[in-house]
């Protein structure tokens, strides 16, 4: 069993949702996460990342305000799952409500173990 981070990438982080939309969204997300947790494959619910009031720190410590200007996609959050293979982790990713947004993606990355770097 290995651990994978599922990273949510939003094409447009500037979109604002209404409270009702937020509630539906939360419910869908929890249904998805609950399904993974029901298989005892959830490692961490990670955290959602707020889109407003962010900074980007660049080379030479140049600080710019979000939302991210020339960066096309923004990261909206992540969770960590346990899976036998990258393919299984990708199957989990397919259920994410993030993908209902046109242009959004979920990136599946294996968590490196210390030995990977030796």
């Amino acid at each position: 069993m290995q651990e994978f981070m599922l990273i949510f990438r939003h094409e447009d982080g500037g979109k604002l949702a209404s409270p009702e939309q937020m509630q539906v969204w939360m419910q869908m997300t929890m249904d998805w996460i609950g399904g993974i947790a029901a298989q005892n494959k959830l490692v961490s619910t990670g955290s959602g990342l707020a889109f407003d009031d962010s900074r980007v720190v660049g080379h030479n410590n140049v600080v710019t305000n979000g939302p991210f200007g020339d960066i096309k996609e923004t990261i909206g959050g992540f969770i960590i799952v346990r899976a036998e293979s990258t393919d299984e982790a990708a199957e989990f990713a397919k259920g994410s409500p993030v993908l209902l947004g046109d242009g959004n993606t979920v990136e599946v990355r294996r968590l490196a173990k210390p030995l990977d770097f030796v």
Binding site: M30, D31, G34, G35, L42
Partner: protein, 412 residues
Amino acid sequence: MEQQKIIPHLFRTEFRKITAVLTRFLGIEHLELAEDIVSEIFVLALETWPYHGIPDNPSAWLYAVAKNKAKNQLKRQQLFQVKIMPDLMNASGQSQEPALDLSPQNITDSQLQMLFAICHPAIPIEAQIGLALRSLCGFGIDEIAIAFLSNKETINKRLFRAREKLRQEKVAIEIPSAAAIQDRLATVLTTLYLLFSEGYYSESQDTVLRKDFCLEAMRLTYSLIEYAPTNQPPVNALMALMCFHASRFEARTNEKGEMLLYHEQDETQWDEALIARGVYFLKQAAQGNAVSKYHLEAQIAYWHTIKTDSPEKWQQILQLYNHLLVLEYSPIIALNRTYALAKVKGNAAAIVEAEKLKLENNHFYYTLLGELYQSSDPIKAKIHLEKALALAKTLTDKQTIQKKLQLIITNS
């Protein structure tokens, strides 16, 4: 006949009371001795009552014998000289023999203190639960073995090691400091939760429901609520959970003593007063931000006190199960969550999720699949229920599965 009924009942309710007071009296290092003495008292009752008749006040009789035995024990062990005499010498005025205080207040205090003494960080959590079940609740070794899905030898060894540990650590019988209460309370709640569950889902042959155990768990939980430093949100949440479950005591069995499933129950038999108490404790539990698993389970139990199905009810229950799973995985929660999912999204969607669970040693898994396939594919449903039947261990579970199987056979 009368004796046969009254003695086990007394044993259940008085064993833990006398043991707690006696252990506090003799010191925790003599816990096993205290239990042995209480057992001797009951043997004496069994031997003498059939000939002399049951005393008018059986508890008072037991307490009187306990007081005598405690006094004799002190003398026999010369504890009297070592521990008590110096105090008596120092005390001005006439010397008094120390007497076992079996007043209701001292019983309550002793039990609360014992609960915390037993739930000590130095002792493995399983052993803590075992000790609490034995010494505080008067469970038999057999019953503890069932609760842990273990055997008598293992439990005896575990209890022996736990008592040794209590001795070595010189655990005092007292309520821990305010700082320590936070850590210790979690174990205490787990123990009470397990105690309640043991009663609620009892596998005992003679009574389907060991209401006494549930009531004892509720009484102990309530004693934590009555004591200000432990009157905390998770404790109130656990109390609410117990009230909601207990409200269905009477409705859960039919006149033949067989278990009735939730949907078969007559909700007019649900105890409205207990449900109202549960709502009260749930409101008390809402103070603060922390959400414990007891909060989530109590809310799920609350929704179940409303018999009528509604989209809102099942949507709420599903969300609560989602949160519960994120907090802590367990196969039963995973299965219950999938059942709620079927109520919200339909059986077809739930089947897809259910088959991912792969709990192939669990009869509830196949029972759930049998239920989900019931209308769409009776043949598959039957195969799953037959697997469930082969895996089920208790009579109640087997009867429940057989009922479902019968229903499919008559319908097809």
